[in-house]
């Protein structure tokens, strides 16, 4: 580790040295190759993503209506943004509940998936099956299965008499807590009520947490597997305990993936349908036909998430250790 530190330090000083030579340095020419590597994505950005993004930004400052003649726009300045904060009584509460949920959920999901991936990386009987089961939420939480759920719910709503039948078919929220009353047990052991309540909340939401941490567990798992076993061997030869191995090798090697997971989790929890932000924005846009207002709302959401991500990555990236 110390060696790496030295290596990165020397590199930094090299980079900091002013390079006044004109023309292309070897390193510059080498870096030009970077453009070729990101070329497909660059094309996508320029021709598909950015136009759409700019469009929605333009919509946010306009009153947009779509009729047979096409898209009609009427410039209204910041009115949509004023409306969101001052006139609309529903937006702010939905938004705040989303932000609060995001912080709590992200923390729980990250800790849980980090722990679980370490467990799944150990050797035990039935590890393959366990991994498959933990992958299941990646598939179940979106796309076809979620659509089928919605279709069934809609059918039931239209034919109210069949609630009984659907009860067996939909995904119930079943957690540890239905199996054992863990929170009550902990309270008996004399732990403070606030702590046991928190544990209780986590356990009753176990299904949601497991559902949301499928991808994160996979990312951590593949990062764990990427650590060369020889590093552990060397540590063992030096007399490191398992605890030291974890904090001196495993954890630093996982920090790059931790950053990915944090960013992904913050984004995905914020858009979690539980908090209704995305649904609210969509409802404004499609059923309310207020496209301009919906764009303004989504831009408010973008800005807030970007600020949160900026803060989080700013704090984390100082602690992220790269081997390079």
């Amino acid at each position: 580790m110390a060696k790496e530190q030295k290596a990165t330090n020397s590199k930094e000083t090299k980079a900091a040295r002013p390079q006044k030579k004109k023309g292309m340095m070897l390193s510059d020419r080498k870096n030009m190759a970077g453009y070729i590597f990101v070329l497909p994505v660059l094309i996508g950005m320029l021709f598909i993503f950015l136009p759409a993004l700019v469009n929605s930004l333009v919509y946010a400052f306009n009153n947009v209506s779509i009729d047979f003649g096409g898209v009609k726009m009427e410039y209204v300045g910041l009115k949509n943004f004023y409306d969101a904060f001052l006139t609309d009584a529903n937006f702010i509460p939905v938004f705040i509940s989303g932000i609060r949920g995001m912080f709590f959920d992200s923390a729980v999901i990250i800790l849980f998936s980090f722990f679980m991936s370490n467990v799944l990386n150990q050797k035990f009987a039935g590890r393959g099956i366990c991994r498959v089961i933990f992958f299941l939420p990646v598939v179940l939480s979106m796309g076809i299965v979620a659509d089928m759920e919605d279709a069934n719910e809609m059918f039931n709503a239209m034919n109210g008499s069949l609630e009984e039948a659907s009860a067996t078919g939909t995904f119930d929220q079943i957690g540890f807590s239905t199996l054992f009353n863990v929170a009550g047990l902990l309270q008996l052991m004399g732990l403070p009520a606030s702590l046991t309540n928190m544990i209780g909340t986590v356990l009753t939401n176990m299904y949601g947490i497991l559902n949301a941490s499928g991808v994160q567990i996979l990312i951590f798992l593949s990062a764990l597997q990427a650590i060369s076993p020889s590093v552990f061997e060397a540590a063992k030869m030096e007399g490191a305990t398992k605890w030291e191995e974890f904090w001196k090798i495993t954890f630093p090697m996982l920090t790059p993936s931790l950053l990915v997971c944090v960013v992904y989790t913050v984004i995905s929890t914020f858009t979690n349908p539980v908090y209704g932000i995305m649904e609210y924005i969509e409802a404004q846009g499609f059923s309310g036909a207020k496209y301009g207002y919906a764009s303004a709302l989504s831009w408010i959401y973008f800005v807030v998430v970007i600020v949160v991500l900026g803060l989080v990555t700013g704090i984390l990236s100082k602690r992220v250790t790269y081997l390079d």
């Binding site: 021709f47 393959g128 498959v132 992958f135 076809i144 299965v145 078919g169 990427a226 020889s230 590093v231």
Partner: protein, 308 residues
């Protein structure tokens, strides 16, 4: 660990047995094994229980399905649902087509995102930070926001071609790194490549490899775990994707399209059970692919001599 276990089984050695059970370390490790088993069983139960119920539902006759008293063991076991749903999905065509298409898309995404991840992770070119910020932005924007402009783009593609209803839109999106959550894959690859020892590339450079050769010969083989992970996630999400498939590729025989045609037939109510059965049938092949694929998420290549 396993060696000592087999030894204990073969010849019972009291001393070793006692040391294992009564030393602090041994007790801790056994305690951890028990805790681990409880946690894993609990989590697996939580995940699999609803899915298991659905799977059981698929084998129930419709009377059983409506009967709240029949939960785990169907009274009238039947394969009729599965047969019906399979024929409604026209499975001889839709399953192979979806399989090949998902594999193609996942492969393309691994390639494109891998290239981009390497570009972002290892090269410092002008504007790289801005482009990378846009990649994260891409992850941030919910697909619903992009659907209308994307639809118009593919309806009147450059040159006026109408790509809606063909297999092309998602292929084009995969080629340009715009597919479902491709920002995540790019980010994953970037972090992986950044975490690789630079000595690998330097060695390749000295041996006369070009940047591309280095990427394909040195960097990719060293990141098999990440490639497989991205491939599996991408495959699963493409297989189950309805957001883009149902809007841009209507009329193709992908599962996501076929599944929206499932109906109850003569008795409309049966659509409930058919939907459940279809969902189970669609998920099973992905599980199979994962079961095979996860074996490739393996320990990294030895590179002790290089990292030092």
């Amino acid at each position: 660990m396993t060696k000592t276990k087999t030894k204990i089984k073969n010849e019972f050695n009291f001393k070793r047995w006692a040391r294992k059970w009564f030393s602090l370390h041994g007790m801790m490790s056994i305690g951890w094994k028990i805790v681990r088993a409880i946690i894993l069983i609990g989590c697996c139960y939580t995940i699999i229980y609803p899915f298991l119920l659905k799977t059981i539902d698929a084998f129930k006759s419709f009377e059983d399905y409506l009967d709240p008293a029949v939960k785990y063991i169907p009274k009238y076991f039947t394969l009729a649902n599965i047969k019906n749903v399979l024929s409604q999905l026209s499975w001889q065509k839709s399953f192979p087509v979806t399989f090949l298409y998902s594999a193609l898309i996942a492969g393309l995404q691994v390639l494109v995102c891998g290239l981009a991840g390497y570009g972002f992770g290892r090269f410092k070119f002008r504007g790289s930070k801005i482009i990378f910020a846009l990649v994260i932005m891409e992850l941030l924007v919910p697909p619903q926001t992009l659907i209308i402009p994307l639809f118009l783009r593919f309806r009147f593609f450059y040159g006026g071609a109408n790509l809606i209803g063909t297999y092309w839109p998602i292929i084009i999106m995969a080629l340009t790194g715009m597919g479902i959550r491709n920002g995540l894959y790019i980010f994953m690859f970037r972090q992986t490549f950044r975490n690789m020892p630079k000595e690998l590339e330097e060695a390749a450079l000295i041996d006369g490899c070009s940047a591309f050769k280095t990427f394909f010969r040195v960097m990719l083989p060293n990141s098999v775990s990440m490639m497989v992970t991205v491939f599996l996630i991408s495959f699963a999400w493409q297989w189950t994707d309805t957001t883009f498939t149902q809007r841009f590729q209507r009329g193709t025989s992908l599962l996501a399209n076929m599944i929206s045609n499932v109906d109850g037939g003569e008795e409309e109510v049966m659509v409930l059970q058919y939907n459940n059965t279809a969902a189970v049938l669609c998920v099973l092949p992905i599980m199979l692919v994962y079961l095979i694929g996860q074996k490739f998420i393996i320990q990294g290549v030895e590179r002790s001599g290089i990292t030092g």
